[in-house]
């Protein structure tokens, strides 16, 4: 677990920065400081939380919030299925408890592990590093709401994509390289987006194209 905390300490710092942005944005959207921090404690997902702010109004649109959270978190379903062969050594309830900290960077780094670590501990520890950063950042942003101007917040709206780009480079740097499936998924996503398809469907179809390319390559190798 400590190895996970150490490995993802950098991501923890970055999560802290994004947590500050979320805290400021949440307070701006009308949440109290307590509600902002409580949301970070319960959800621990930047994309889902930022999206929820878009719909935060009175009365609260519960169905819209639920659907948007489900669609935006669909990537986590893919991450959790990807980690199946790597996390098996503990009782199921321990594994499910450990999965509270499942995020993209710690899944990717756990899959890249070369040494015989306790994989669940590593996954959980890495998540803890990010979780602590995320919560601390949210607290800071919620309390010091004037830390960044509205203009700066607007300029930084692309920061989430930069974070995803960094995680992508963690994938590229370690483990097996699956260039063709990644490129196929990316091209499919661009085409589908240009066609005006909804983002959730773009996610499913784009990943399906990538998986098809891997499966086809596996078949060709076997033949």
């Amino acid at each position: 677990m400590i190895a996970g905390v150490r490995s993802l300490a950098g991501f923890g710092l970055t999560s802290g920065l994004f947590g500050i942005l979320f805290g400021i944005a949440a307070t701006g959207a009308g949440l109290t400081a307590f509600q902002s921090v409580f949301m970070s404690v319960c959800m621990f997902t930047a994309a889902g939380q930022f999206a929820a702010l878009e719909f935060w109004q009175s009365p609260l649109p519960y169905a819209t919030l639920a659907i948007s959270t489900l669609l935006i978190s669909s990537r986590l379903v893919l991450m959790s299925v990807a980690i199946v062969p790597y996390v098996r050594e503990r009782p199921l309830y321990v594994r499910l408890a450990g999965f509270t900290m499942l995020m993209d960077p710690n899944v990717v780094l756990t899959m890249n592990l070369k040494k015989p670590y306790d994989t669940l501990g590593y996954l959980f520890g890495g998540g803890i590093a990010m979780y602590l950063g995320w919560i601390s950042g949210t607290v800071i942003g919620s309390v010091f709401t004037n830390l960044l101007s509205a203009e700066t917040m607007e300029v930084l709206r692309f920061a989430g994509i930069i974070f995803i780009g960094m995680v992508m480079m963690v994938v590229v740097r370690g483990g097996e390289k699956h260039w063709w499936p990644w490129i196929a998924s990316a091209i499919a996503a661009v085409i589908l987006t240009k066609l005006g398809i909804q983002p959730a469907l773009v996610m499913i179809l784009g990943v399906a194209v990538g998986v098809t390319v891997v499966a086809a390559r596996m078949k060709l190798k076997d033949a």
Binding site: V84, P85, I161, M168, M169, G210, V214
Partner: protein, 94 residues
Amino acid sequence: MIAIIMMGLIVYACRITGYLVGIQFSGIDKYRTILEALPGCALAVVLAPAAMNGAPHEIAALAATMIMMWFTGSVPVSTLLGLAILLAGGYYLV
């Protein structure tokens, strides 16, 4: 408060659903290659359209972050570089 708890439960359900489905298949190890490719595919699907629709300084910030990450592997350094370009571009180039 109820809405926040509801959203927290949905996110957790997403975190465990893939795993709970995956462990039902005893032969899932055969599909390890596909599972290894999944995270990259999921990230590429988010990244590519966003990069295509980004402003020039946003694309530059993303590219600089990824290149810095490739060469150094340092998350804080790459983040700070990306955010610096994003801020500089946002304020002065646009």
